[in-house]
Symmetry: C2
Amino acid sequence: MNYLRQFEPFIALPHLIKWLPISFIVGILAGTASAVLLVSLEWATDWRESHQWIIALLPLGGFFSGWIYHQFGQTVEAGNNLLLEEIHNPKEIIPFRMAPLVLLGTDLTHLFGGSAGREGTALQMGASLADQLTKIFNFQGASRRILLTTGISAGFASVFGTPLAGTVFGLEVLAIGRIHYDALFPSLIAAVVGNQVTLLLGLHHTVYRHAPSIPTLTTWGLISAIIAGAIFGIVARFFAQLTHKISHFFKAKISYPPIRPLIGGALVATIVGLSGTTKYIGLGIPTIVDSFYVQLPPWDFAAKLGLTALTLGAGFKGGEVTPLFFIGATLGNALSLILTLPTPLLAGMGFVGVFAGAANTPLASTLMGIELFGLQAGIFIGIACVVSYLFSGHSGIYVAQRISLNKY
Amino acid sequence: MNYLRQFEPFIALPHLIKWLPISFIVGILAGTASAVLLVSLEWATDWRESHQWIIALLPLGGFFSGWIYHQFGQTVEAGNNLLLEEIHNPKEIIPFRMAPLVLLGTDLTHLFGGSAGREGTALQMGASLADQLTKIFNFQGASRRILLTTGISAGFASVFGTPLAGTVFGLEVLAIGRIHYDALFPSLIAAVVGNQVTLLLGLHHTVYRHAPSIPTLTTWGLISAIIAGAIFGIVARFFAQLTHKISHFFKAKISYPPIRPLIGGALVATIVGLSGTTKYIGLGIPTIVDSFYVQLPPWDFAAKLGLTALTLGAGFKGGEVTPLFFIGATLGNALSLILTLPTPLLAGMGFVGVFAGAANTPLASTLMGIELFGLQAGIFIGIACVVSYLFSGHSGIYVAQRISLNKY
């Protein structure tokens, strides 16, 4: 037995004493930022829904958002991918301006009626605020990577109210095929504190329906869950690829960045005007909630997928994840027409399953499913997330994600 | 975009078609083996408790068990460590005899009144049965590693009734500090099927009390949970080291292996006779259940720790994990004397927390805690498991576990 090994618990103590207060601070920063984001998004969404004429101005909102980023935000334009890139290959501190810019950009997207999410915003606020501590503590190398990871975990945990999923998400999103545990303790503390701060500030997360009865797992049920998971994965992959393709197209055809969301916004606003419904723009929470209760049109997922890919591909700010929840929940709902699993169970499986495939985070998604839809559905949720991960290929919504181990 | 990437979902399909039936078979084998183990342990425990004179024969039982392994089991003596070693550095197929030998050895331990567990037995039966498929399918390299991992996952899942924890345990136990996802899908299917088979065969797992009310997480509650986790980790480390030291001592002093459990059995039987209680031998399920309801003597954990280290260190067969649950649950119960968290919550945190530290499996242990004690306790359970993992050092109960990444 190595002599030094005898003192190991005392070596753990400095790690704890170092990271407990820092993770605590990151949690407070990210939790507060998420609270501000959630309040402002609620306000923007309510205002848009009661003043729907504003959607006609979506091109202007897009131009304004694009112009602000072009003037002040070129260093933080890469968003989530900048965070992942910095963790893998640290160069310089994430500018503080990332936080207010992405908050403003996301609020503009939702106020004017783009289709987008909020997790990207929460991650970018959490991580950029966390990274400001790098200067204070003079962090380098591993410490800074851990710090950035805690910001991601705390942002995710607090914006969705899922601390365990947030913890694992921060570790899991960095690379496909493996998790490293270096940031495990700091991420957990930051996620738990971040979530608690958002709750203490009076925010309430949407409560989704737990499937009232979960069937016993039969061989056919297992196969149904695998089929559902495979479809979730293929759709997740399609969403990621479509978004990237639209983004490449806009970048190739339009050199002045603010014009891209102007054109994209005009397209989205036209589609919304022609379709006569605001169901597929914004976060889409009401439809997500509905998907656990009633049979929805089977094309809902495709409409949301197209509008979100267009919104984000054109350069609007916001996240991909809440739209992925929408796409997954409505797709699961539609699959209950052909698979013999209960509709609310399939909606929950899709909610986290499509996300698992698109973000390549099967464990965080499974934990999220358990945190949101209850443990009883755990096995079905786990199968949906793991199979979706298997079928979504080796690229996802985060292009800076590394491939550490091939999926098969 | 790489041309081949377009066909990725079709590349996932062969992986699924290959591993679904194989994992299914592994699940059936491991689940059936776990059912046999659980039934036989129930019988052995009941018989011993109603014929306690048999404990006086524990030295003979130990000699018999040791003699059988010395005659027929030298190739499988290393048990769990042989499995981990084969996964890291494949040499030859695990002999089939591992399964019946470890089953018999474990039943002898429990019939005659040693203090031990059952997870080691379930893992060894699951993996050795799974590995027999290596010949049939002519598996090599990665495929064989995955196959062994599925056996571990299915064994763990079915013996404890925790399929999600079993899935992650198989991946997480291989090395400290990282998880690789190569066996994720096969392990999940094997774990889910294994658990289902054990249930279908009529086995019922112990149901533990869910803490009736979980306090809101305050700063003091967070610190209390961290203190508890640190103590769980230090005790886990002490247990692992004591067991290894006793084992080394017996091996150094006694060259003929069957004499080791004879001497060890005489010591355990003498201690049980002098103490006048059978509370600390066998699996100890009744005391584990009690620890969620009533205040227990604060030395319970230490008595179980000492007797288990002596039993296993002397060479009796069985697992470490159920004794770790006992040690943790009673230690958590004792900590409720000084920490202001509810007793059933601390018992649950200790149940999985000490195990997390000793096996270096914080995520599997957190999932297990959620599967056994409910999601409401999830944050406290997560903190206990992660902090215990941090404080248990870089060695654990499985000496063949690799260190992939230092904990701090």
